[in-house]
């Protein structure tokens, strides 16, 4: 666009160019190249993202199945989503996944900090911890189904540690802990990936800063707090936002491992059941739109929250100056009093 207006300005100064001349000129070529490069990704984006989304948005106003007639029902689907206990009841399960994502981020931030300094066998650890992210989610589901089976892997390992089988809970049957078991699989899968992102960010911190901090007498934790944390806040914000949105839309662990039964049906699993088994496509589309709104809201709230948190972290310096000024003033007072 900028190129276009410039062309117009230029053509005003020189004598008028025909379209052919303009097309052959540098400005024209620039526009052509830009359009040519943009058109493919934009078409792909439109056809495979926005068009289906618009379709689904349209579906949410109909009472329809995959096949057969559709009946326009206006906002009734949305009202029904709010009237049903299972839709929003399922969102409560997201709290488990959010709790899990906090653990996951803390763990990965800790490991990333440790591994970003010189550690023996660091790359091996990084590799092992990143590996689960490379496995297909469905495969992970099957792995953990056997992992949690009574008397199989997990129970055997715990028995080696001295637990007796009779005291161990049923990891997937017991409704008080089965969601935690499922969240565990998701933490196991994603913490390595978060860690690698954090390490990447930490690597970009100038090493001289550590040296300078050490000379000033800063310990490891203070280095982390005052140098590393502020330097990687963007990536932390990104990871937190992705994790929280991910927990709102958790699907694979409950769907593959427990089939969403036994109190583990998350919002997505309920949506899947409604759209595919009960064939209420309109209702499920409305659920999807509502979840989108919730995710938007959650994302905006988090942005606001992080703005506040990191602002105070930057203000630390100002406070420090103020404190130092106070101390100096006190000293001066004492001197004057003496």
């Amino acid at each position: 666009m900028a190129a276009m207006t410039q062309t117009v300005n230029n053509s005003g100064r020189h004598k008028k160019r025909t379209f052919g001349e303009w097309a052959r000129s540098r400005d024209g070529q620039k526009v052509f190249v830009m359009v040519a490069f943009m058109i493919i990704p934009l078409v792909l984006l439109f056809v495979f993202t926005y068009l289906p989304f618009a379709e689904m948005f349209g579906f949410s106003f109909y009472n329809m199945k995959y096949t057969g007639d559709r009946k326009f029902v206006g906002l009734k689907n949305y009202i029904r989503v709010f009237q049903r206990s299972d839709c929003f009841g399922a969102l409560k399960l997201s709290l488990y996944y959010m709790g899990g994502s906090i653990v996951q981020l803390a763990l990965s931030l800790y490991l990333a900090t440790v591994l970003s300094f010189k550690v023996k066998g660091g790359s091996v650890f990084k590799g092992f911890m990143f590996f689960p992210y490379l496995i297909n989610g469905i495969a992970i589901g099957f792995i953990f189904k056997f992992f949690y089976t009574r008397g199989f892997v997990f129970d055997t390992v715990l028995q080696w540690c001295g637990f007796s089988l009779d005291n161990l809970p049923y990891w997937l049957k017991d409704q008080s802990i089965n969601n935690i078991s499922l969240v565990g699989t998701s933490v196991w899968r994603y913490f390595g990936q978060n860690m690698v992102l954090f390490i990447g960010a930490i690597m970009s911190v100038d090493a001289e800063l550590y040296e300078a901090a050490m000379l000033d007498g800063a310990g490891r934790f203070q280095q982390f707090k005052y140098i590393i944390l502020p330097s990687i806040k963007t990536i932390i914000t990104l990871n937190v936002i992705l994790s929280i949105t991910g927990s709102l839309s958790a699907f694979e662990p409950p769907y593959v491992i427990t089939d969403g039964a036994n109190g583990t049906g998350t919002y997505f699993v309920v949506m899947h059941e409604i759209s595919h088994t009960q064939q209420k496509v309109g209702l499920a589309s409305a659920m999807a739109i509502i979840l989108l709104m919730i995710i938007f809201a959650a994302t905006i709230l988090q942005k606001v929250f992080f703005k506040y948190v990191f602002k105070s972290a930057e203000d630390e310096d100002l406070n420090a100056t103020a404190k130092r000024d106070k101390k100096l003033a006190k000293l001066a007072q004492r001197k004057a009093g003496r």
């Binding site: 009574r150 992705l242 839309s249 427990t258 759209s275 088994t277 209420k280 989108l292």
Partner: protein, 495 residues
């Protein structure tokens, strides 16, 4: 700003694919079909489709009715074909999509196609086994471009003519095959079952003997006593629920009509009009007592220890080795259990233990039905018709799978010997004009009987194991949902 953009894009993408791509966990192939579906759905509006198809359908219907005027459409009806003599020089290339991935892999289907080609050398049959068939086939169906033969997925009967070529009139079909009315609409049959199932209970004869059970149970109470005996006298799991697989729990729905109520018209005609179908009739019959078996078995510890980690593949060998007493599954499962180990002779199949008015009823019905794409060319339709009739009459597939015979002149396997003395009937179809009512009720009430409603049966197991709800509470909930759906759909209710 960059962060915001990345986020917005990834969110939008995630949301869009969340709904459309939900079933696509097992491969890129599904993703494409889902995408195809969304993009083509609008370019071929349903209205156009029906208009175009209606003309061919009426023509075909006429042909079916008066039998002789097949030249009009060029496609013979099912009853007009003589397998082995007609159309042996026909050249065509047809594609068949099906759900029997196991038979595709072990070469059974390839062997059958080869045998078919001995008689019809110029008809090429391409086959494709589809995992997750129930969902995938529906998506493909709406694109219209899926091949020539498919197994009919869960479509509304009123839509049959939109998608499928009529096989023949119901009257003619009934002379040729059993269960001809399974996919019937307005007097025309659209499908032929590849095999039929009789609904009973799988059991291990050796376990029953060791437990001291001499006579097969005939009522829910007797059945629960048998399970208790198995628990007391053997190490076997009396009743294996197969809870984790999900669909295996939905298998319980198969007994709710003919078996539990002793009425072949119950499931498709009376059920939707019944005000309180889940009440206890007090005589060990009815839907109430059918599911009571499951609830009581779980509550009394007569099922496996940890139901959430049951393993469908593993259970086959377990029942074969005598580690499982009984499993509630259709007859199609019999052959797999026999093949799963060395003790195939121990596997038995008995009628479901509910006796209505002194008679034990057995519901038999077609499995998935072959059907022909209405949009295929006439040559392909003819070739498909020939193939389907050959599969039904000559391939022996139904017999080999342990199925109840589809072909009127076919033979039944030995496993059905315990069914002597029982009344074997097929569920009657819905009355004219109410064909879609059961589907609508299933969808509206979200109980989905015999239509993937596994979750509600799993809930029985959960409630019984945790004691969170009594069985009467559960049935009251179902009644509530059922009645609400009846209200919503304005269905006439009889008490």
């Amino acid at each position: 700003m960059k962060l915001k953009k990345v986020l917005a894009l990834s969110l939008a993408a995630a949301m869009t694919f969340s709904l459309i791509g939900c079933g696509s966990d097992d491969g890129a192939a599904n993703d494409t079909s889902a995408a195809d579906n969304t993009t083509t759905e609008d370019s071929t509006p349903a209205a156009d489709d029906t208009a175009a198809d209606d003309t061919t359908d009426t023509a075909a219907d006429d042909a079916a009715d008066d039998g002789a005027s097949t030249e009009a459409t060029g496609v013979p009806t099912y009853s007009q074909l003589n397998v082995g003599t007609d159309y042996t020089d026909l050249t065509a290339s047809i594609k068949w999509i099906h759900h029997k991935t196991d038979r595709e892999e072990d070469g059974t289907i390839a062997a059958m196609v080869e045998a078919f080609n001995q008689v019809y050398p110029n008809i090429t049959v391409e086959t494709e086994g589809v995992t997750d068939y129930a969902e995938d086939s529906l998506l493909r169906l709406s694109t219209g471009d899926w091949g020539d033969i498919m197994f009919i997925p869960a479509v509304d009967k009123s839509d049959l003519a939109t998608y499928f070529q009529p096989m023949d009139s119901l009257e003619n079909m009934s002379n040729e095959i059993n269960f001809a009315d399974q996919w019937e609409f307005g007097g025309t049959s659209y499908g032929v079952p590849y095999m039929a199932n009789a609904q009973g209970v799988l059991y291990n004869k050796a376990v029953f003997e060791a437990a001291g059970i001499t006579e097969l149970p005939t009522t829910p109470t007797e059945f629960l006593d048998c399970l208790q005996k198995i628990k007391d006298n053997t190490d076997a799991i009396p009743l294996y629920t197969n809870y984790a697989a999900g669909w295996t729990m939905g298998a319980w729905d198969a007994y709710l009509g003919t078996v539990a109520n002793g009425d072949a018209a119950y499931q498709n005609q009376k059920f939707v009009h019944t005000a309180n179908p889940f009440d206890d009739p007090g005589d060990d019959t009815g839907i109430y007592n059918l599911y009571r078996i499951l609830y009581d078995a779980v509550a009394n510890g007569l099922t496996e220890d940890d139901y959430t980690t049951t393993d469908w593949e593993g259970c086959k060998a377990m029942i074969n080795n005598g580690e499982i007493g009984t499993m509630v599954l259709g007859s199609w499962a019999y052959a797999q259990m026999v093949e799963a180990g060395e003790h195939g002779d121990d596997i038995g199949y008995m009628p479901f233990p509910i006796t209505v008015g002194g008679t034990q009823y057995v519901a038999a019905g077609g499995d998935y039905n072959f059907a022909i794409n209405v949009n295929s060319s006439d040559e392909n339709k003819t070739a498909a018709m020939v193939f389907i009739k050959w599969m039904t009459e000559e391939s022996g597939w139904c017999f080999n799978e342990g199925g109840y015979t589809v072909d009127k002149n076919g033979q039944n396997p030995d496993m059905y010997s315990a069914f002597d003395g029982c009344t074997v009937v097929a569920d009657q179809p819905a009355v004219a004009g109410e064909e879609t009512l059961l589907n609508d009720m299933n969808s509206e009430s979200e109980l989905s009987f015999n239509a993937g409603g596994d979750a509600k049966v799993q809930e029985i197991v959960e409630a019984a194991a945790t004691g969170s709800k009594t069985f009467d509470d559960l049935m009251a909930e179902w009644t509530q949902k059922w009645n609400d759906a009846q209200d919503y759909l304005e269905i006439e209710v009889n008490n």
